[in-house]
């Protein structure tokens, strides 16, 4: 980290449900574990969920709304993560905030966070309306997350166009919910298909992993436990690449599904040469 230039990174996708908030939560934890002072800002005022994925929903007293109104100090609204003190959440306020919230308000919030944090991750709402525009105005760089599905890629493309117009740079791509087996059978858009179409550098590849659901059930992001699950590793690697570390991207053709699957595969391949 260069001494005190806070990186404000927007995490967006266009389409809903592709993993924006999960990425924000896991990336936030992973960065914090790597010693980066990280704030996660829930910019999805309409449908906030970042607090839930981080397991911080019961500890919210004040929100961005009170901070902006001047009725509390920033430090009072920030919820520090117990296990990862390098990470703090600034919760989204009441959905009615959407009626008056402006890009300047988001910029003001991010400006307040800057002195105490190295990275601010902004969890963008789905869509490309006002909520998106407010969130974009506070960011300098962006991570676009998508899945290898036509609708998600199309929406990502639309968002990338808008990010370009706003002068956001760099824009990097995280491909989520990759199913290596389907890709191998050519029943899913390949990694190259998606990167070619969207013309973005790939920051990370996350395989479909049931553990993600288990972790959200518990409110403990996968990266928190340092678990060896494929998605946890992928998120940690995204964090390392984001910090400029050169971590090679995995080849989906060689991705196993957990240690047991790998062992099983190993035993089989000796005799039958796969499947």
């Amino acid at each position: 980290m260069t001494p005190h230039r806070t990186r404000n990174i927007l995490i967006c996708s266009g389409k809903g449900g592709v993993g924006k908030t999960t990425l924000t939560a896991n990336l936030g934890i992973a960065l914090a574990r790597q010693g980066v002072r990280t704030a996660v800002l829930d910019a999805d005022f309409g449908l906030r969920n970042l607090d839930l994925l981080l397991g911080l929903e019961n500890r919210i007293v004040f929100t961005a709304q009170e901070v902006l109104a001047g009725s509390c100090r920033l430090e009072q609204a920030l919820v520090k993560h117990k296990q990862e003190p390098n990470l703090a959440l600034l919760p989204a306020g009441n959905p009615r905030m959407l009626e008056w919230l402006k890009p300047e308000d988001m910029q003001a919030i991010v400006g307040m966070l800057a002195p105490s944090f190295d990275v601010v991750l902004i969890d963008c709402p789905a869509g490309i309306e006002d909520g998106f525009k407010n969130a974009v105005s506070a960011a300098q760089e962006a991570i676009v997350i998508t899945t290898p599905e036509v609708s998600a890629v199309r929406d990502a493309d639309r968002v990338i166009g808008l990010l370009n117009i706003h002068g956001i740079k760099p824009i990097q791509l995280v491909l989520n919910r990759v199913r290596p087996k389907m890709m191998a059978n050519q029943e899913m858009l390949s990694v190259n298909d998606v990167t070619d179409i969207l013309a973005l550098p790939l920051l990370g590849l996350v395989v479909e992993d049931e553990q993600v659901i288990v972790s959200t059930n518990r409110g403990e992001p996968l990266t928190l436990s340092g678990s060896g699950s494929p998605a946890a590793q992928a998120y940690s690697n995204v964090a390392r690449r984001l910090r400029g570390e050169d971590v090679p991207l995995p080849d989906p053709a060689k991705m196993g599904r957990g240690l047991r699957a790998k062992l099983r595969g190993l035993i089989k391949t000796k005799i039958f040469r796969q499947q």
């Binding site: 890629v153 199309r154 493309d157 890709m183 059978n185 179409i197």
Partner: protein
């Protein structure tokens, strides 16, 4: 994937769904990015045909005008098989018109490697170009508007009228 799908694929009767997905995406994104609706595209197609028909006779059944996209650059690709020139018979010559629609640096007018015709570049693609192209060669014509962002694609199509 069902057994039937597998068999169909092995026999080459049906492409893998990833291929279909990629093709459909490329097509829809080309339209999304250029902001051209189908009616405008159809109008442009008619007008391009009208202009080209003044010089050469086109095989109307084989005409293909479509948007293609690569690397976030969208191109209007027109494939107009030429039956013969209005003056001299030239069977089997194909003209390809490429219009840079969005973004810069798109090569226009990839004329197929047929030896005879020289390229007659018509500057803005308006009918004024007729005088320039009076040399009666059947020509693959390269029309390239100023490469610029989204709105230029609309202006470009208007200037063809």
């Amino acid at each position: 994937m069902t057994l039937r799908d597998t068999i169909y694929r092995l026999l080459g009767l049906q492409p893998a769904s990833a291929t279909t997905a990629r093709e459909r995406l490329q097509l829809v994104l080309a339209h999304d990015r250029s902001d051209l609706n189908p009616e405008l595209l159809e109008q442009m197609r008619r007008e391009i045909l009208e202009v080209v028909s003044r010089y050469v006779e086109i095989d109307l059944d084989e005409v293909d005008v479509s948007l293609e996209t690569e690397d976030r650059v969208t191109a209007l690709v027109a494939n107009l098989p030429i039956r013969r020139a209005k003056a001299v018979a030239q069977p089997g010559v194909k003209a390809t018109i490429s219009l840079g629609v969005k973004g810069a640096g798109l090569a226009a007018g990839n004329a197929p490697s047929s030896p005879e015709p020289e390229l007659a570049g018509i500057a803005e693609g308006t009918s004024d170009g007729a005088t320039a192209a009076e040399a009666e060669q059947p020509a693959a014509q390269a029309i390239q508007p100023e490469p610029a962002a989204e709105t230029a694609s609309l202006e470009g199509s208007e200037s063809l009228s």
